[in-house]
Amino acid sequence: MVSPKIFGNVLSGRCKRNQQTHFRQIRADIALNIRNPDDYVRETKLDIQRVPRNYDPSLHPFEVPREYTRALNATKLERVFAKPFLASLDGHRDGVNCMAKHPKSLSTMLSGSCDGELKVWNLTKRECVRTLQAHEGFVRGMVVRFCGTSFFTVGDDKTIKQWKMETPGYGEEEEPLNTILGKSVFTSIDHHQKEGVFVTCGQQVDIWDEQRSSPIRSFSWGVDSFSCVRFNPVETELLASCASDRSIVLYDMREATPLKKVIMSMRSNTLCWNPMEAYHFTCSNEDYNLYTYDMRYLDKPFTVHMDHVSAVLDVDYSPTGKEFVSASFDKTIRIFPKDSGHSREVYHTKRMQHVISIKWSSDNKYILSASDEMNIRLWKANAAEKLGLLAPREKAAVNYSQKLKEKFQHHPQIRRISHHRHLPKSIYSQTKELRVMKEARRRKERNVRKHSKPGSMPVVTEKEKHVVTVVK
């Protein structure tokens, strides 16, 4: 009998045996798998438990079905935790008509109402920090200067006013820095990204120098009024505007004449440039749809975003440029991925009326909606997201379940749960009605095509349908 040798944790020995009946010797190498329990349990109660891992796939059977179950659970939990509504900011005494983001401060937001009142809000405290009577009649448009020290408002009283961002000291009166009296009502205003130039629209599109009281340039292209004008955030000299003759007009600030315009079948209310891919813009249309255009190819929209059941009033892009949010007359807010035809999310409450203005916060986390019934609402951009700091393990778990949801998103069960949204009855029935109408129209078209000369009734795609013409 030889004394056992120890190799690591394996105990091995030589064994010799005398069998008296056969008188032969047997020699063999033996090793047994013996674990020392001390290597696998914690030493003291203060330690955390040891969890040795072995990633051998044969020890983890049913990989796919288990992942699928996890994905299904994650999807269900997401719907359980989807509570997007955060706060309502009340204080306005008339419907809120417009809002403006502060370029430097995440917590500051401005809103203007239909009685000419303007409020500055602190979003972290969810309270109004300043109120001023900016205009007589509606506050039509607002924009904060790129430096964040002052802001411009336009109103129904045909004036453009520049205000200081700071609250006036005790005893000082709320007075604008500058007031410009225009010839007609201004409907919208936007400021240049880095120069002291701003643009307004009304009966024509005017470009103003901050130092002058008359526009440095005016554009009009046989149109009587404009509803919205926006500077391109990247090609900062470019502009786009929505006109009441159903057209969207593009301008170059350096040129004397507009660049081109696309005429659509219905009027666009507002538009917003994609901040990341700035050759794309999205316009909210009266025909319940939103259209994303590539600035270079206006003859056909890039994507048609359908889901609203009433006119779309406002649109704003997320700072990542991957999604945008739209506000509609049908009392809902919808979030669309930029290249998807349908919304991924719809927000509504019982009390929210026609949503007039919408903004996506610069940290990509919140959405602000201003509606007819004098309230501003704060929503989460991602309905099921947990707010506040996440522990690292929590974050890892969130990422893991996100990936799983993505992996199994096309499975019918998961798809059904993740796509289901409760809608107010009116919107639900209206959606159904619209679907029926659309189907009927399509059926009729199909039958007509079937009974007409081949080729005389070409198939017109949804994208092509809404563009009347492009003028250069």
Partner: protein, 596 residues
């Protein structure tokens, strides 16, 4: 370390003369010297071609520096081990899932990008897993005889003498001659043992510490015992009904829907208890909600042979007519019926990876099947026939013949002539079961229970999040919650458990058809070719037809061309082969003159 132990099972006598463990840098250098061609393939030689490049570039400046040089540091010395350490190919193979598909064509650049990125991520994960595998702390046990000596002649006592006292304590006998013979079951972690004597004696114990958890006599015949998902609950198939007890021996449920149960199997990831009854019913009980999932009438008489495939949770039933049938809860008919034996099937066992099935029958044969292809691999003749079979985690097969338990190694490889180990129990064997994560085989027999030491049976490295033998009560509770959350629904049981991750082509086609129906046109259809109008008589109907013909079936042409080429190639090869054959034969036949 772990690698050497892996190979040990396959090739005995490898571990005789132990070489010092090879280091990865030694091997790569050898590879690099031996053949340059090999460097191009495989991840383990990633950096060698790169090194060659740097050498040729810097050759002029730096003169006679060594080839293994990587990045230069300020001190002028070079890193002798540049880059990450290579991962051995066989380790990588272990973690590979499925086969890599083809990349989508270039025009689908977005999809292509997604596929490339996800494949890179999975490659990285596999590599990291393989790397981690090298560092696993425990090695598997083994038993090797000298050159002219059989390991099966080594008795348990000899093994106990040779190994240390803690390992030796794993061989023990429980003399329970009064209520035998015994059926047994080990819990999923391998810590707990459940014994059920035919005459009503049921006991469960922590077999390593020999701590008794409960012991009772149910005063009825006990047909089978089974642990449920944890060591807190177990099921006992008694004379008439199925009972569930907790580990204190308190009867929790008497399930009257399950009558005359003979054998049971527990599917741990589905929380299903599958039972086979004397009345020919295969029933599934969902133990997490306590509901019967399905009761299938197999119409095959008394069911007393049962096994489950741990890879895909399919139940294998053996019948008295020599067939083995495969069942899921989703289908009233068997998925597969295999005729395995002449005469009845006595026992069935399926290995951990779901590749092999071992059956023994009344015809005294032991057969090994590949159950992916339903193909017999080996057939052995055992003089007494095997009554009970069990497969261990590392692929050892135990077969009980009368009162002798034999353990075979690698039965599906080269035909085995001698058992790996053998042991004579005191009574006729009634149940055998390998203990998970331990080198132990539990044998229940007429005179009680024997715990046998079988080196190399169990997986040495457990996964702490799946089945942890050393888990605390808290850890067990947490595991239970997690496991219940990811309970797989019985509808997902099928022959291929990874089917859920594959593309569902048929549904897509159906949906596409529906879409075409709704739209009135096929949005994915190719545009029809309309010949351009040309002047000067070139658009006469004949000319137009001619031009149309030029582009007709353009997409099919390539395919046709390819198949024709392939066929020609095959023909040519065949002809050449024939010619060679004829030349090799060298003999001219009289009929050759008629050959062209």
């Amino acid at each position: 370390m772990a690698a050497s132990s892996d190979t040990m099972l396959k090739k005995p006598h490898v571990g005789k003369k132990r070489k010092p463990p090879t280091r990865y840098w030694e091997r790569t250098e050898e590879d690099g010297k031996n053949d340059g061609k090999k460097q191009k393939e495989g991840d383990n030689n990633e950096q060698t071609p790169q090194q060659n490049n740097t050498r040729t570039k810097k050759g002029g400046k730096r003169g006679g520096k060594r080839g293994g040089a990587g990045k230069k540091v300020i001190s002028g010395k070079s890193d002798p081990f540049p880059g990450s350490a290579p991962v051995p190919e066989e380790k990588l193979k272990k973690f590979r899932r499925g086969v890599k598909g083809e990349l989508p064509p270039r025009p689908q650049y977005k999809l292509r990008d997604v596929v490339i990125r996800s494949e890179a991520a999975s490659d990285l994960a596999q590599k990291q897993n393989a790397r981690y595998d090298l560092m696993l702390p425990e090695d598997a046990g083994f038993l090797e005889g000298d050159e002219d000596e059989d390991t099966c002649t080594i008795s348990q006592d000899d093994i106990v003498d040779a190994v240390d006292i803690t390992a030796g304590a794993k061989y023990f006998n429980l003399t329970l001659s009064q209520f035998g013979p015994y059926r047994l079951d080990y819990s999923k972690t391998g810590r707990h043992l459940l014994l059920g004597g035919r005459r009503g004696h049921v006991t469960c114990l922590d077999w390593q510490s020999k701590q008794l958890m409960c012991e009772m006599n149910v005063m009825e015949t006990v047909n089978d015992v089974k642990w449920l998902h944890s060591e807190a609950l177990f099921a006992v198939a008694q004379k008439k009904w199925l009972y569930i007890y907790d580990n204190k021996g308190i009867e929790l449920h008497c399930i009257r829907k399950f009558n005359d149960v003979l054998r049971m199997q527990f599917l741990p990831y589905h929380f299903l208890l599958a039972t086979a009854s004397a009345t020919g019913f295969l029933q599934y009980l969902d133990v997490s909600v306590g509901k019967e999932v399905v009761a299938i009438c197999t119409k095959a008489g008394r069911l007393d042979v049962m096994a489950h495939n741990p890879h895909n949770a399919i139940i294998h039933l053996g019948h008295s007519n020599g067939t083995v049938t495969l069942w899921t809860p989703n289908q009233r008919e068997p998925l597969v019926k295999m005729l395995c034996h002449q005469g009845g099937v006595r026992s069935v066992a399926v290995d951990k990876t779901g590749t092999y099935m071992v059956t023994s029958g009344m015809d005294k044969k032991l057969k090994v099947y590949d159950i992916r292809a339903y193909r017999p691999l080996q057939s052995y003749f055992l003089p007494a026939g095997a009554s009970c079979l069990s497969l261990s985690q590392r692929g050892l097969l135990s077969a009980a013949t009368g009162d002798i338990v034999q353990v075979y190694r690698d039965v599906w490889g080269i035909p085995v002539t001698k058992p790996y180990m053998a042991h004579r129990a005191k009574g006729s064997v009634w149940g055998v079961h390998f203990c998970p994560f331990e080198d132990v085989l539990g044998v229940g027999h007429g005179e009680g229970f024997t715990s046998m030491v079988v080196p190399g049976a169990g997986e040495p490295n457990f996964d702490g999040l799946d089945a942890n033998p050393y888990r605390s009560a808290k850890q067990r509770q947490e595991w239970e919650v997690k496991a219940l959350l990811e309970k797989i629904q019985p509808e997902l049981i099928g022959l291929d458990p990874s089917q859920l991750s594959q593309v569902d082509h048929s549904t897509w086609e159906q949906r596409h058809e529906d879409r075409v129906q709704v739209l009135g046109f096929d949005p994915l259809a190719k545009e029809k070719f309309t010949p351009r109008l040309k002047t000067k008589g070139r658009s006469s109907s004949g000319k137009v037809e001619k031009r149309k013909k030029q582009v007709a079936h353009e997409d099919q042409r390539d395919v046709i061309r390819q198949t024709v080429e392939d066929r020609m190639k095959i023909d040519k090869e065949r002809k050449e082969k024939e010619k060679k054959k004829a030349a090799a034969a060298g003999q001219k036949s009289a009929l050759d003159r008629f050959r062209k």
